[in-house]
């Protein structure tokens, strides 16, 4: 009996220890082990002393976090607070999408990750000095997603000034976007809110809400704190009224007085919020005023979170790999024009871009995520619509410091001159060809209605074709997004051009330049080879053979029955 008891106790205790080491909320004491793991897996970016100055840091943007200032972007805690251990553990485990921080779930054991959490905390004294656990953001009172909530959020998006950086529809193209720097003075770009997959801390509504309430420390993104939040202390209606009054060119005396009262009400609430922050004791009524005001902040934040959530697709578009190739659709007659509604019916193929790191100058920190492509063709022509997000409209007014060349946004579409025959036939080198030449369409933002045809045998060995003007082009830049429409005949007289034919699988690749990211010459973002085809009109045989087979099968069944019946009668 006793042995069994002890065994049971040991098991329970053992299980708890295991459980604790894997799921504990708090990190263990900083140890040699944590230092060892850190130095082997983290120091190359974050630096041996945690200053974010590892050997890889030079070529990275966003820069690796400097741990010595206690500023952590992704937290579940309120503004100005340190992260919880669990927050740090989660970031190490899941990584930071859209940056070079990978998730370490498979590479490091949970134990090692906890050790690293403990070690990272030693870089900033604040963790030691803060006796109280950081205050976590409450997710109670979540306002469920609804169109109505999204509408309210959309208004707040303007009222709060989100547009200044994130742009009219959230593509990170606000007028302040190019000038932003982080707390270390490094350039930083506002999030493109339509690309949820690049949100560093996840794109669930709760995640977005936490970023609002807690802020993104070290970045220009402010927290929605009580004392500074839009018209703090006023109800939603009062706030609306005040904005209405303030937007008037001139206020009547009565209106002046009305707004004055609003300001007094705000001052009272702000004073309480600040006093709480400064550690003063508050009366019950004061606390009531504060809580009521905070409730409005939280409600508005949920509405805004719902709006931001509405800006992004459910999932990242699948890259056009495997059989998911770009298939140009056949239409009879005229091909759709630039702003034709027909484009809406076509589901785009997505071509994610990576930095060009093969040939100097290289681009280690691409700012363009990918290109959406749609295409139609008819008996004589093919038309493409290329769509990509770029936070800035750069048209060559500024020049690159090192090359003295104009900086501008651009896109090149690349095909082989001759389609390789058979699966083992070599394609040209994916970077603008080599031994085998490629055929390129080169578009630049400074000449938006023109695409130059090039032939290239290497990225520094491109020639402008003599015969130009075979392409019809139209383009536009709106709200952080380029749209480029290119039309060409399937066949041309130029031997240097690619000749198109339905049913043939043609390699296709892209190069994109973002002028504001100093992309120039070979410093660009690119794809390797993907595939495109003019999808043949489905064969009419599909209406002929199936009925024949069906009828034959009926005949076969009856024949079988007759055969069996005859055998039966013969047997009898």
């Amino acid at each position: 009996m006793r042995i069994r008891t002890i065994a049971l106790l040991l098991t329970v205790f053992g299980m708890l220890v295991v459980f604790n080491s894997a799921y504990a909320q708090n990190a263990p004491e900083a140890s040699e082990k944590g230092k060892e793991v850190y130095e082997n897996s983290c120091a190359h970016c974050h630096g041996v002393e945690g200053r974010g100055d590892g050997s890889a840091a030079e070529n990275l943007l966003p820069k690796p976090r400097d741990f010595t200032r206690g500023l952590y972007k992704i937290r579940s805690t309120e503004a100005g607070q340190l992260p919880t251990d669990q927050d740090l553990f989660d970031i190490i485990t899941e990584g930071m999408p859209g940056s070079s921080m990978p998730g370490w779930e498979t590479a490091l054991t949970a134990n090692d990750r906890w050790e690293v959490v403990a070690y990272i905390k030693t870089f900033y004294d604040g963790f030691k000095e803060n006796e109280n656990p950081p205050k976590q953001i409450t997710l109670e009172g979540k306002i469920p997603y609804s169109e109505q909530s999204v509408e309210i959020g959309k208004e707040l998006y303007v009222e709060l000034g989100c547009v200044e950086c994130h742009g009219n529809v959230g593509r990170g193209d606000g007028t302040s976007a190019p000038t932003l720097t982080d707390s270390w003075g490094f350039q930083t770009w506002p999030a493109n809110l339509t690309q949820g997959w690049n949100y560093r801390g996840g794109f669930d509504t709760e995640d977005i809400f936490k970023r609002f309430i807690g802020g993104i420390a070290g970045s220009p993104m402010p927290a929605f704190e009580g004392d500074s939040f839009l018209n703090f202390g006023l109800t939603a209606e009062e706030s609306k009224r005040l904005i209405e009054l303030e937007n008037k060119d001139e206020m009547t005396e009565a209106e002046e007085e009305e707004s004055g009262q609003f300001y007094e009400k705000m001052d009272t609430a702000v004073d309480i919020a600040l006093s709480i922050k400064e550690g003063a004791e508050m009366s019950t009524t004061q606390m009531q005023t504060y809580n009521d005001a905070m409730k409005v902040v939280y409600e508005k934040s949920w509405h805004l979170a719902n709006y931001v959530k509405s800006l992004m697709p459910e999932e990242r578009p699948e890259p056009a790999i495997g059989n998911n190739v770009l298939r140009s659709q056949y239409v009879q007659g005229e091909l759709p024009a630039f702003d034709d509604a027909a484009w809406e019916t076509f589901e785009a193929r997505y071509f994610p871009l990576v930095g060009q790191v093969v040939i100097e100058p290289r681009q280690f920190n691409p700012t363009i995520d990918g290109v959406h492509v749609k295409s139609f063709y008819n008996d004589t022509e093919v038309v493409f619509l290329f769509v990509w997000d770029d936070r800035t409209h750069t048209t060559g007014d500024e020049t690159d410091e090192t090359t003295q060349k104009p900086l501008e946004d651009a896109l090149a579409v690349q095909f082989p001159v001759k389609v390789p025959q058979g699966p083992t036939a070599p394609k040209p080198y994916f970077l603008w060809g080599g031994r085998l030449p490629v055929y390129l369409w080169h578009w630049k933002a400074s000449t938006p209605d023109q695409v130059t045809e090039l032939t290239a045998k290497g990225i520094n060995n491109a020639e402008t074709q003599e015969a130009q003007g075979e392409l019809q082009v139209q383009s536009a830049y709106t709200d952080g997004q380029y749209k480029l429409w290119v039309k060409r005949t399937l066949k041309t007289d130029d031997k240097k051009d690619l000749q198109l034919e339905p049913g043939v699988f043609v390699p296709i690749a892209f190069s994109v330049w973002d002028g504001s990211n100093a992309d120039v010459d070979t410093k660009l973002t690119m794809t390797s080879w993907y595939t495109f085809t003019l999808e043949p009109v489905p064969s009419s045989r599909r209406f002929v053979y199936p009925p024949i087979i069906a009828i034959l099968s009926v005949g076969l069944l009856f024949g079988l029955r007759a055969f069996v019946q005859r055998r039966n009668t013969e047997d009898v």
Binding site: S41, H44, C45, G54, S55, A56, E58, S99, S100, P102, W104, T106, A107, P319, I321, N323, V325, R327, P352, L353, V354, G355, V357, V358, I359, E360, F364, G422, P423, T424, P426, K427, Y429, F430, G434, G503, F505, T527, S528, W529, T531, T533, E535, P538, S539, R541, R542, Y545, P546, P547, I549, A550, I551, S553, V554, L557, L560, R561, V564, Q565
Partner: protein, 258 residues
């Protein structure tokens, strides 16, 4: 309860095996089995069933009985009518789906182990034959551990300033550019990579990159840069030391007994 007929039992076994292979093993246990392998298993099961039912005449007749009955017996008239509609309908749909299927691009075969040239070069300078060239800093491992460590650390720096974008922080081929490259960058944590190659082979692949692959080394899509354009000879050797030190795998060597 009525006893199940032999035919029904066979049908249940057949469908049951397929569901097991496709959904239980492939779905729940999540070890997806290629369609060709499933087809092979199913073929074996069909043969087993055929053998089983045809060992004795009586058994075979018992098997055929429900088919017989369905075809001619008046009591099975309803079954018959349903089948006469369902079978042609199924065939109609199936044939249509096959004919209307889109053509897919041809897959491109990949030569995972392209054969290296006989001579190892850096830029145009000859280094020696592929077989014989060894890492000039490898001997420090025994002779001078301090110097060895310095070379490994330099390799670590070179790696993280150039390679980790694609090959990853953990050398597992999962850098942040990796998901969008085809073929995928090499995974040095894979036990089949480092131990299978000499250091000279790695030097060749690093120095010459994708464009340096032999004509037979299809496809030509490798995004591996020509690193001799960016790195010194010593830096390449250092990074090779780092690869084996970090992963704990030893490069293959010749001429020594293990």
């Amino acid at each position: 309860m009525k006893k199940l007929s032999l035919f029904t039992i066979c049908l249940i076994i057949l469908i049951g095996s397929w569901v097991f292979l496709e959904f239980v093993v492939g779905g729940i246990i999540s070890v997806p089995i290629p369609n060709s392998v499933i087809a092979m298993y199913m073929g074996l099961i069909v043969i087993a069933i055929l053998v089983h039912i045809s060992v004795e005449d009586s058994q075979f007749r018992e098997f055929l009985r429900p088919i017989h009955e369905t075809l001619v017996d008046d009591r099975r008239r309803v079954h018959r009518r349903v089948l006469v509609v369902l079978i042609p309908l199924f065939l109609l749909g199936y044939t249509y789906s096959i004919i209307a299927q889109r053509a897919n691009p041809p897959g491109s075969p990949r030569d995972a182990h392209p054969s290296p040239p006989l001579e190892l070069t850096y830029k145009d300078e000859g280094i020696g034959t592929m077989q014989d060239v060894v890492n000039p800093f490898r001997h420090y491992e025994k002779d001078d551990p301090e110097a060895f460590k310095a070379h490994v650390e330099n390799g670590r720096r070179v790696y993280h300033q150039n390679c980790f974008y694609c090959h990853g922080d953990h050398l597992d081929g999962q850098g942040h550019f990796a998901p969008y490259l085809q073929p995928l960058p090499a995974n040095f944590q894979d036990p089949g990579i480092i131990p299978n190659f000499q250091e000279s082979f790695f030097f060749w692949r690093i120095a010459k990159g994708g464009p340096g692959l032999p004509a037979a080394g299809t496809p030509w899509d490798s995004a591996m840069p020509i690193w001799e354009d960016h790195l010194t000879k010593d830096e390449i050797w250092d990074v090779i030391l780092f690869l084996s030190e970090y992963t704990g795998y030893q490069f293959r060597t010749f001429g020594e007994a293990h």
